[in-house]
Symmetry: C2
Subunit: 192 residues, 2 copies
């Protein structure tokens, strides 16, 4: 997606440890017009896949999921990272490893919000090692829901998450794939 | 806001400890059409207040802030609850007490995203004791930003947060104010 690639080149910042900071527009400050264009692009790519629900994980994924859901006209449901006191009833849980923080955390979703009748589009801001998305896939499997597709804004193509998901047969759309990055250069994988 | 009050009556559930569960549409599963109507209502109420930025706190506030920002055509910025490894540079921090969890937590915002030139609309899903919003007000004060208004979806009118904010002179709009609730009855404060 040209618009997103251009924005990454203009405002993204490369930091030590393979960190690509896009906090000016994607995950701390949010450019809602850009997010809406991203949502529209996900709709273009997945509109024929019978999506009934958009699933993401707090916090950065929520904005993207909402702007996509406007176009699909389906509900969003987001997995929580901490077990909330107010989450009563049965829940699905999965364990996600965070490389950024070097630790595991639980994600939780109320069972009533995901059923075998659902066809799910999973969305998130980043895909690197893919552990968060694997956790969401695990929850879909527990629910017996169908995974209609996976949409991420930025994939780090030099980390293994995207390749693993494609090899497993998922329909994965990454709107920008960064194949290499350094302080003074950032290369995107060509896409149609 | 009639639409929100009706939805609370239809799907809200009262739980022990003054908990009003609205997770079907507001803060776990998200009804994006309803959120868009909420965003439009905030725009109607605050469009003349010169808002340049919408400020909220992760996670539930993000969806509401984004849907409001579409109407204001301004960026969203959200305070983070945990200090992120990827938050470099100078940050504003404040301490918020959570009654739900019985503990204090830090909220953090990169300084570059809030300046003395900003006029801020603070939004959140709930207002009860008002501690989260006090934390956001503290961050606005640290930034030297002007608070143009505060918009919340549901105020628990029997808890002190709303009254304190009004007494302090803030322009506070609560789209639904619950004055009392029990297992079988829920009373809204009449509003224009």
């Amino acid at each position: 997606m040209k618009l997103l690639e251009e924005r990454i080149l203009e405002e993204g910042q490369v930091r030590p440890g393979n960190v690509l900071k896009v906090d000016c527009f994607l995950n701390h400050q949010l450019d809602v017009a850009l997010l809406d264009a991203i949502g529209e692009e996900f709709y273009r790519l997945f509109q024929a896949d019978g999506i009934t629900k958009i699933l993401t994980i707090e916090a950065s994924g929520i904005a993207i999921a909402c702007m996509a859901a406007r176009h699909f006209e389906v509900p969003v449901v987001f997995a929580k990272k901490a077990k909330s006191k107010n989450l009563d009833g049965e829940v699905y849980t999965s364990v996600v490893h965070s490389y950024t923080y070097g630790k595991d955390y639980d994600i939780t979703l109320a069972q009533k919000f995901l059923t075998p009748g659902d066809t799910v589009l999973i969305v998130d801001d980043f895909l690197a090692n893919g552990k968060a998305i694997q956790g969401l896939l695990d929850i879909c499997q527990q629910a017996g829901a169908t995974v209609g597709g996976i949409g991420v804004c930025i994939e780090k193509g030099f980390q293994p998450g995207g390749a693993l998901l494609r090899k497993a047969g998922y329909k994965l759309a990454s709107l920008a794939i960064v194949d290499s990055m350094s302080d003074d250069a950032l290369t995107f994988r060509p896409q149609d």
